[in-house]
């Protein structure tokens, strides 16, 4: 943080990651995230995040996801569920079922469970097939999820990005249209200002592989070196095999929403970028396991490698 920064943004920890939120317009220096939230706005943001966590967390036993994992039934989903599950349906199709919200049990098997056991409990477990496990009904009262057996959902591929969108929306409703919400790897800027985002080298956090300019957009980063608990063991799973992927090391995706940027950043480990770009309006960067750095032609920014 530069010493000339006068105001520090709001900072807190939530859903297992540090968050920072700054309020600022076109005059805010590039090096600054912006001014902090008021105490009321901060409290409202924390309450919104808590609500999302209570619905969607795989890591707490009082969540809706935990109840869905215990018994089959018809589950009324919260109002924020539809955009998230719609995106999952599109990602599932665009990756030939390699990206799925049903990898919860696969992650558990590999040791990434609610207790952070971090010890594989046997051979990799392919995720159950979507059509065998879930049916979504649109009803006047909202989205209903029908399950014939207990299923462990994991919205890790897009959930944090979506929450970044929801927090920004909440702040717009509270009269703050110009914000940057940075949830460690998932960032969205709203309003008139442009920000510059460094693409961190996943093997050296002091180095950037590039810089991307964002204006009224989101950028989400995903890396197999994040949340890794052993060589070859990390949180990005191919649902078909139940195994962690190994051909791609890190991805960064720019989109109009953090929901789409986060989901597609995960999908970039599992499918050809050209195919994803035919479905989603995104720009992207990928670091492959052989050291190559790839990027889309329309990316606004520069790469250093």
């Amino acid at each position: 943080m530069s010493s000339s920064t006068l105001l520090e943004p709001t900072a807190f920890e939530a859903i297992g990651a540090p968050w920072r939120i700054g309020v600022g317009g076109a005059a805010t220096p590039t090096s600054s995230l912006g001014a902090p939230l008021s105490a009321d706005d901060r409290a409202a943001v924390l309450a919104r995040i808590e609500q999302f966590d209570r619905d969607w967390s795989r890591f707490r036993d009082d969540s809706l996801v935990a109840r869905i994992a215990r018994e089959p039934g018809s589950w009324s989903l919260p109002a924020d569920a539809e955009p998230l599950l719609d995106l999952y349906e599109r990602l599932h199709a665009a990756t030939d079922a390699r990206l799925s919200p049903l990898v919860g049990a696969s992650l558990d098997r590999l040791g990434y469970d609610a207790a952070y056991r971090l010890l594989p409990a046997g051979d990799p477990l392919p995720a159950p097939r979507w059509q065998d496990s879930l049916a979504l009904r649109r009803t006047p009262a909202g989205l209903v999820l029908d399950t014939a057996a207990p299923v462990l959902l994991d919205v890790g591929a897009a959930g944090k990005g979506y929450l970044v969108d929801l927090v920004g929306e909440l702040l717009v409703q509270r009269g703050l249209p110009d914000t940057v919400v940075d949830a460690s790897g998932d960032v969205r800027v709203r309003g008139e200002r442009s920000i510059r985002v460094a693409l961190e080298n996943p093997f050296d956090p002091a180095k950037a592989l590039g810089v991307v300019e964002l204006r009224d957009q989101a950028l989400c980063a995903s890396a197999t070196t994040r949340r890794a608990w052993g060589d070859g063991l990390h949180h990005i799973i191919d649902a078909i095999t139940g195994r962690p992927v190994d051909a791609v090391v890190a991805t960064w995706v720019v989109a109009d929403s953090a929901l789409v940027a986060d989901g597609v950043a995960t999908a970039m480990f599992l499918a050809d970028p050209a195919r994803l770009c035919a479905v989603f309006a995104v720009e992207w960067v990928r670091l492959l396991a052989d050291g190559r750095l790839e990027a889309s032609a329309g990316l606004r920014g520069e790469l250093f490698a």
Partner: protein
């Protein structure tokens, strides 16, 4: 300080030192070892300084593979993590080598401190999972 625990693999030779008794078990949960921990771990959760090692196996598409994990503890802080690979298969050797030698050697980039940026998007701020894992491993070593 989390930067020291980013998992950046290093290629330096492993230094395995005292304390002998506790070494094998500290990383048991990480690597699949089931050796019991040394019972001498003090109640105030102070661990003796030194390098702790564990061997582990995992199933890859090529079959069973081996890794050796070393953690260096200093004043109860993990100051270094090293993963040494011991692959049985040339394809795995290739992939493991790329990870263990650090792709950072090939793709380095520019110093973030020298760039005028608003946000850094990557792994340095998302080490909670890793910190929690280390905490779990230490708790396991105490309980065993």
């Amino acid at each position: 300080m989390t930067r020291m625990m980013t998992g950046r693999a290093r290629t330096t030779a492993a230094r395995v030192a005292a304390p002998i008794g506790a070494t094998a078990a500290l990383l048991g949960t990480l690597t699949g070892c089931s050796t019991a921990a040394e019972a001498e771990v003090p109640v105030d959760a102070s661990y003796r300084d030194g390098t702790y090692q564990a061997n582990g196996t995992y199933e890859s598409p090529n079959g069973s593979e081996n890794i050796i994990v070393l953690i260096e503890l200093e004043n109860d802080i993990v100051t270094d993590v090293e993963i040494t690979t011991n692959p049985n298969n040339p394809t795995t050797a290739n992939y493991q080598g790329q990870f263990a030698s650090g792709i950072g050697d090939l793709v380095i980039g520019e110093d973030i401190d020298q760039l005028d940026v608003t946000v850094v998007a990557g792994s340095s701020l998302t080490s909670n999972g890793f910190r929690e894992a280390i905490a779990a491993i230490k708790a396991d070593a105490v309980e065993s």
